[in-house]
Amino acid sequence: MNAKIEPLVNDGYAGEPAKRALAYIQSQREKGSPVVGVYCGYAPLEVIRAMGAVPAVLCAFANKTVEAAEVVLPANLCPLIKSSYGFIITDTCPFFSLSEAVIAETTCDGKKKMFELISSYRPMFVMDLPQLPDQREAQDNWTVMIKKLRDFLEVTFDRKIPDDKVEAEIRETNMKNDMMNIIFDFAAVKPSVISWSELYDLTFLATSARGSHIFPLLEETIKKLEKRVDDGIFFGKVDSPRVLITGCPVGGDATKVFRIIEEAGGVIVAVDNCTAMKTFMDVIEADTDDPFAAISRRYLKIPCSCMTPNTRRLTELDKMIGRFKPDMVVDVVLHACHSYNVESHKVKEHVKSKHGLSYLKIETDYSQGDVEQIRTRVESLFDSL
């Protein structure tokens, strides 16, 4: 990234998306909003916000707490799970400290079992996420789960969550997602005028924040991006290889992969993962008979690899490739993430045969020990262009 370009969100937290999100959550708590911790993109945030609460993402991306976690958890486990658990048992996670309740979805085996170990720390509501999302029963069951979440929140916080408030949150989310997508479109410009770091500054905040709180920021961001286009400001070089990232959630210490790609001369133009664009890509049907069913239908479309057969992963990738025009796809798989790892084969075949793009899978964790190995692979990928 050109150090001379003023960051899009120039609030003292540029490049530190978690700190900005934390500052927002703290400010809301001070105004009386309870905080509800979530572990997943499938958590129905509209129900949480309809109660006047603010969601806090508890997924952790720091290597420093992994050692503590490995006293209890096996080393051969996803670093995100280990890091998150490590923060909790060392009582060093500010997001968890602020959370008064925790929502936990049964996404993957590792998370499911880790939730059991933390269930005594806070009131926890485990949601049974269906994994064949196109089945009618799956949508009905997830609707039931979301309504049970509402009941849990009402009891835990002694507040009511009426349907019309949920409906209002649906509309606000849709407006926010529309604006986020206008911003994402600037990454599709050739050459791209927004960096991955700036995307993260926005997506981390936009996950916790309600739309109306950040509309001014998003509008200002769009104006700044339009000015960049007018002024001819862009990232990398005109012909830098354009990289689309897919795979597991990538944040914090795992962003070493992004830095290596940039140091090798690439520019990241799209991040499919749930830490970035994934959860902003669709609308929730508004003004239906049942807002919970509408929420259920939208959320079950999120193509995480815990779903099967997850064909939407490939169709969403098709859309992203058409929109962002990458030269290659880099699939980041965290250690021990079997579902994304097995699915990478399908992604590779699809990306190569349908789109003729180069593809690289990087299996990694949060440590710095494999930086040079990753660098060799990324540089070789660029050499193959």
Partner: protein
């Protein structure tokens, strides 16, 4: 124009020099704890107009010499494409890493797979096993070649395999058969990696372990006449660097 290529590997440093497209010099020296000193020695009085470096020591070299750097994948791809154009697949087993590369129809890098996180399946693995069996490396290779049968080992990890071999020796099992089994293990791992990149056309077997006749014999049995072993398999990366600079 004189173009040089230097491949700074874990066990050896290789130098190749090309003048007007012709190879005029190749050198190999054992690496040490001070790779820069070995680089100085190997470069000696060699005159060149430009130089490209590869291998794990390439960025260190770049801090001290005015040079271009390329990855080993690229270096071996360029070297094979230029000097052994009938080969479309490359298997490189080095001192501490292994790689398989397939080239597409235009000779550019198609697929590649690397094992650079673990000593299993590398030259290091063979050295450790030779010592565990009480052989020098040459004796170990001879034993493998002459063995009438083969005892397979189960451990994939070099450290655990060493323990397993020591236990076998302590139980009086035939050392030559174990040596053969170890060579077969390394070939099996290499073939598995080759299959991931697709075997196309001839397979150039390069890197230090390509000088091991026992590995070559077993691989040839599996890959058949498609296996091609250059006269100097260690130098291909440096040749690729020199040619990359030249072109």
């Amino acid at each position: 124009m004189i173009s040089a290529g230097i491949d700074i590997g874990s066990r050896t440093i290789k130098l190749a020099v090309i003048e007007n497209g012709n190879v005029i010099l190749t050198r190999i020296k054992a690496n040490s704890y001070n790779p820069l000193e070995i680089c100085r020695e190997i470069l000696g009085d060699v005159k060149y107009d430009n130089i490209t470096a590869t291998g794990y020591g390439r960025n260190l070299f770049r801090n001290y010499y005015d040079c271009h750097v390329i990855t080993e994948i690229k270096a071996f791809s360029v070297g094979v494409k230029k000097f052994y154009p009938e080969c479309r697949t490359i298997l490189d087993i080095g001192g501490q890493d292994t790689k398989a590369i397939s080239l597409n129809d235009t000779g550019r890098i198609g697929k590649f797979e690397m094992n650079d996180k673990c000593a299993a399946g590398t030259g290091k693995f063979l050295e450790v096993m030779a010592t565990a069996l009480g052989y020098t490396l040459m004796e170990f290779i001879e034993a493998g070649l002459s063995a009438e049968k083969s005892t397979s080992i189960n451990s994939m990890c070099t450290v655990f395999a060493e323990s397993e071999v020591i236990s076998m020796v302590a139980r009086g099992q035939n050392r030559a058969a174990i040596a053969r089994g170890i060579h077969e293990t390394i070939c099996r791992r290499s073939l598995a990696m080759l299959k991931k990149v697709d075997i196309r056309g001839k397979v150039a077997f390069v890197g230090g372990v390509a000088m091991n006749p026992c590995v070559c014999k077993i691989l040839r049995q599996e890959v058949g006449p498609a296996l091609f072993i250059p006269e100097e398999p260690q130098i291909v990366g440096a040749l690729g660097c020199a040619y990359a600079t030249y072109s």
